[in-house]
Symmetry: C2
Subunit: 415 residues, 2 copies
């Protein structure tokens, strides 16, 4: 059809600001995602994103699974499906979660559009405007972005090399009660290979956290996108192992299979699951049937486990390469974490350097990172810190990027 | 890893209700979706869902597009991507929207996880708790479900055989102002082959609606999932053609390509687009890269247009079959709409029959439908009405289902 309507006429402009809800004033574009746009030029070496290495995407396996699923199961894989998720995939996840220490049955698992949607649904069902969330500082900025839309506030707990300093949770709890007149809604924790800090919560602190959460009667949101990507040391049981009745555990295929699937999952107690399902129905009916069927096929064939093994090798080398390059090429005054897994490390530069300002210098040298302040929900720290991603770039590119930044840092320090 | 944690121990039960946000009390499982679970037994003839016919899914084309995309473009199609959506698909949609009378450029288009996510994002950025939305009665229940989560209230406008009685909008506006002390947030309208009513808004009323919206300074949400599925008569220009500056237009691939992709789109003015993008970032970062690439490949090859032509033929036959069967097999006291397109018609039964109660009788005869009251946001009507879907079942099955319901109706009427 061509309606031959005059669409080239001048369309009046409407000022939409007066039509916006109060919560919309709190929404901001993610600094990282805006930054990523600037750094997507091919000549920039980007340590900014949290992107997996595309050269290790399981292209052949995805292609085969797509062909098989569409041909054999197309009528189901292309149709509307259950809000809760595709049952065989829920069974697979419950089983693998169970082996990992999370007491899950298929009924406890909800498929989401990546972990980001899980964070959004958590905000939707748990946060009233003005409520406080307890989180580490620094913390994952996608969580801040999700919960700002529900008008959350934050009290934060310091991180050290052993992860969140759980002894300080009770103090943050008291501040939240003092400021809002009610308890905070939950504790948000990234126990493994923290984004952005790169730290791992020790076994002792996991137990302590479970104890504190129980004593204060607080739910725990355990965000574990990188748990499978450990390059050294032993796996530690999730916090969910200790206190499944009050933990909302988040997993994702984005770092192990492919982010472009947008597939994550929530494991939570049955009493809460029906609320997540209701919220998910209103949000988008269900997660894509096709990608769930394809992911399930790949998982059931046992491919994912061997693929993750391979990724661990690849990323371990990249992490080591970045650590070695930092030692060799950066000024002695700088410090950084040495993550046992995951995609990121956290670097501290001398206090004379502001990492927001310094980004301009880095970009002149065609290198990008994310300034630390973006990971502080109250914007009260991280001024001399930055997050560096080591999963996306090849080892050669990592060395070159660290070299360039090292030169720029030395220049800025006048050394 | 196997942690050998004792997961068979008794896990304490936590009462989650005290932890829920206020808005969560408003969330309910969709009656339709709960019902669908009951009616998914293979021996039930279901007129309840809004499912496309799976036997006409373009299996071969999806299979070919998946293979091509994963092989040729896998590094991009499996990676994180822009919140706004995949640019070539935005170009395609802007172009086809433009031909359809919607003044769109790629910058005006945002890809969403089906239209349901568009409805959710609209609620998120526009509705404060206690705000009113103006909508027809009956109206699409997915919209009610999405906006209940933002604590919306509703004033409704009657529908007749020409669609929403737009002359009554101003009265509903005044009631909203009287009840909440502020203007309602927007007018929600389904102009083409209304779900559930099956009616189409006339050209005269479209123009009148645009005029009223402008005079009252209200945004319009134009939900058009079935616009391409017209079986007779001429296309009418979208309301967006008249007032693009204040219209949020929603489209979807769910009825033309496949619902399992979860792909829909918003067209809206530039000033509002950045807010949708911010909300979408927080909600799930972006819509699946893989399905966007696959849909784009299918569209760019020109397949979708010819496929929609075929669907129009198939669904026209099913609609006619249902209309003929109703005339022949239902009691003379019943009435129904005769939709020019879409997936649904709306049937009225005599006032002695309550369609919620009668559903039990229908299910005994192994037939399902959705009772009318589910489409009344204030639950103040539809007691003797029902929605019947004619797209999912084969013509033979449609005749058999209508026959069974006819017998049950006659029995209930004592005739």
């Amino acid at each position: 059809m061509d309606l031959n309507v005059d669409l080239d006429r001048d369309i009046p402009k409407l000022d939409w600001e007066p039509f916006l809800a109060t919560r919309t004033q709190r929404m901001q574009s993610s600094a990282i995602r805006e930054l990523l746009k600037l750094t997507q030029k091919p000549d920039i070496i980007s340590f900014a994103g949290g992107l997996p290495a595309p050269d290790f995407f399981p292209i052949r396996e995805v292609e085969e699974a797509c062909r098989y699923i569409v041909r054999e199961d197309g009528a189901e894989a292309l149709q509307y499906s259950a809000t809760e998720g595709y049952w065989p995939l829920k069974e697979y996840l419950a089983d693998s979660m169970h082996r990992y220490g999370v007491p899950a049955t298929p009924e406890n698992v909800l498929l989401t559009n990546g972990s980001q949607q899980a964070l959004d649904l958590i905000g939707k069902i748990l946060i009233d405007p003005g409520d406080y969330v307890l989180t580490g500082r620094p913390t994952y900025l996608g969580a801040i972005q999700a919960w700002n839309a529900y008008e959350a506030h934050y009290h934060t707990v310091r991180l050290d090399e052993q992860g969140m300093v759980v002894e300080e949770i009770e103090h943050a709890y008291e501040k939240a009660v003092a400021d809002s007149g009610r308890p905070p809604r939950f504790i948000y924790v990234l126990p493994n290979f923290h984004n952005p800090a790169g730290t791992t919560l020790t076994q002792e602190r996991r137990e302590k956290l479970a104890e504190v959460a129980t004593r204060l009667n607080l739910p725990v949101v355990e965000d574990d996108p990188y748990g499978q990507l450990r390059y050294e040391g032993e796996d530690l049981p999730p916090i969910c192992t200790c206190i499944p009745e009050r933990t909302i555990y988040l997993g994702t295929f984005s770092k192990t299979l492919a982010p472009g699937f947008r597939l994550g999952w929530i494991v939570c107690p049955e009493g809460l699951m029906k609320r997540f399902v209701q919220a998910k129905q209103g949000a988008d009916l269900h997660t894509g049937s096709l990608v769930q069927h394809v992911a399930n096929d790949i998982c059931q064939r046992g491919f994912l486990k061997q693929h993750v093994k391979r990724l661990r090798e690849v990323y371990r080398v990249r992490r080591d390469t970045m650590l070695d390059a930092l030692s060799e090429l950066w000024p002695a005054e700088c410090e950084w974490t040495e993550p046992e897994g995951g995609l990121f490390l956290w670097a501290q530069v001398p206090k004379s350097i502001d990492t927001v300002d310094f980004l301009q210098e880095a970009l002149k040298e065609k290198v990008a990172y994310v300034p630390g302040v973006n990971f502080y929900p109250n914007e009260d720290g991280g001024f001399h810190a930055m997050r560096l991603n080591f999963s996306y770039s090849s080892p050669e590119t990592i060395v070159e990027g660290i070299r360039r930044m090292g030169l720029a840092l030395k220049k800025a320090l006048g050394s």
